[in-house]
Symmetry: C2
Subunit: 242 residues, 2 copies
């Protein structure tokens, strides 16, 4: 008897930004495997008696190996359980989804992916800005600022990232942003390009801070904060913020 795994995107953290489908999957689950960032009040949607398993991964902290998480998922499913694998934001964006899906496919475990609200969309909404704008921000792109070692990934498409006509959102990029800014400036992005630091998006301690890429790079070079954060830069980061 094989169970079923739902990869459930939790959205940015605000339980109001769960989808109806995500809330229902949580209420039906026998087992919920969750990361640090997808925990908190969202777990109150799980039924009393459900098995809640922390498999916390968070940049800069020790965490279970990806292989171990995949194996846990398979093991729980093979008991016949309805398993929810909760992932913050949208699970398809920087969520290491592929490795876990691959493990389930190899083991023959049926599964589904429930999409959710990306943290980048929630950050822009909280700031009162859209991510795209006709003529001046016709492209939006998401990148990660940290590879598995926590460093800025090598060999990214720097000209694409230094495009003043796009909105760029950097996930997990607070520590490496000073280094990224140096590269962006070398590739011609103006230092006064608007930037927005969005910390703890969707959580009660959410904070938004307007800046420019140069100033934000300088600020973050001295920062010790380890709040999860997104950094948006591009022409829209200066509009509408209340």
């Amino acid at each position: 008897m094989t169970g079923f795994v739902s990869f459930v995107s939790s959205g940015p953290g605000d339980p109001d930004l769960l989808t109806l489908k995500a809330a229902r999957r949580l209420a039906e689950a026998d087992v919920v495997l969750f990361d640090d960032l997808s925990a908190g009040p969202i777990l109150s949607h799980a039924r009393p008696g459900a098995d809640l398993v922390a498999v916390g991964k968070r940049a800069g902290r020790p965490s279970p190996k990806q292989d171990h998480v995949s194996q846990l998922l398979v093991d729980h499913a093979l008991t016949g359980a309805r398993v929810v694998r909760l992932k913050s934001g949208d699970s398809g964006i920087f969520g290491r989804l592929e490795e876990e899906v691959q493990a389930l496919r190899t083991a023959g475990v049926p599964h589904e992916i429930v999409p959710g609200v990306p943290s980048a969309c929630a950050a822009a909404a909280a700031a009162g800005i859209p991510l795209t704008r006709r003529l001046t921000a016709r492209r939006v792109q998401f990148i990660t600022g940290a590879d598995v070692t926590g460093d800025l990934p090598e060999g990214m498409n720097w000209p694409a990232l230094a495009d003043a006509g796009a909105t760029t959102v950097v996930f997990m990029g607070k520590r490496t942003f000073p280094a990224l800014v140096e590269i962006l400036l070398r590739h011609g992005l103006p230092p006064e390009t608007p930037a927005l630091l969005a910390e703890a998006v969707g959580h009660p301690q959410q904070s938004l801070q307007r800046s420019t890429i140069r100033t934000l790079g300088d600020v973050l070079a001295k920062s010790r904060s380890n709040q999860p954060a997104l950094i948006l830069y591009g022409p829209l980061a200066e509009t509408f913020l209340s």
Copy 2:
């Protein structure tokens, strides 16, 4: 007495992919202004007696002018009504959000933006693929394939779009994709780059079709379908699709 406007992102169309907050705002609304793509079963969340106003905009069809929609929003809010402005997908992504927010700011109408599930995330989830992958798809970007006249926007960052190491999602790009493919090939993107055509995402008639950019360009050059569609291309468009 001034009302309040909620810009509510409806997600791709599946009412299960509404957020809890979006469902609540709909249930509380006196007036709901909606586009074609955000209509259907989602409107059943509005309370009986709410005023449902179609302001349908859809590429390639006549539609109310943007100024007219903004004025309608302001007029309804100034009656003191709780107004929901429903927008498909995430309202901050190719939703012409800025013009409407600007009109409310000018008129002094308080408002909020409720983020939602982008259609691109729902399309990838339906196909069983993530939008990013460690090392080989470290950047995801969204563009629109149609400007206000319905043509391919001029002067986009073609090298960024011809990057074989990114996942690209083209919104409203079915008609112009053949022209886009010609440009991508000239900028060095291999013709066999995997592509996925996702039509009517989140609707009962949803269909997914795997292809390559060259083949899909040829297919769409002869297509007469006017289903709304997204096109994904990049290394991930070939994985996992069931």
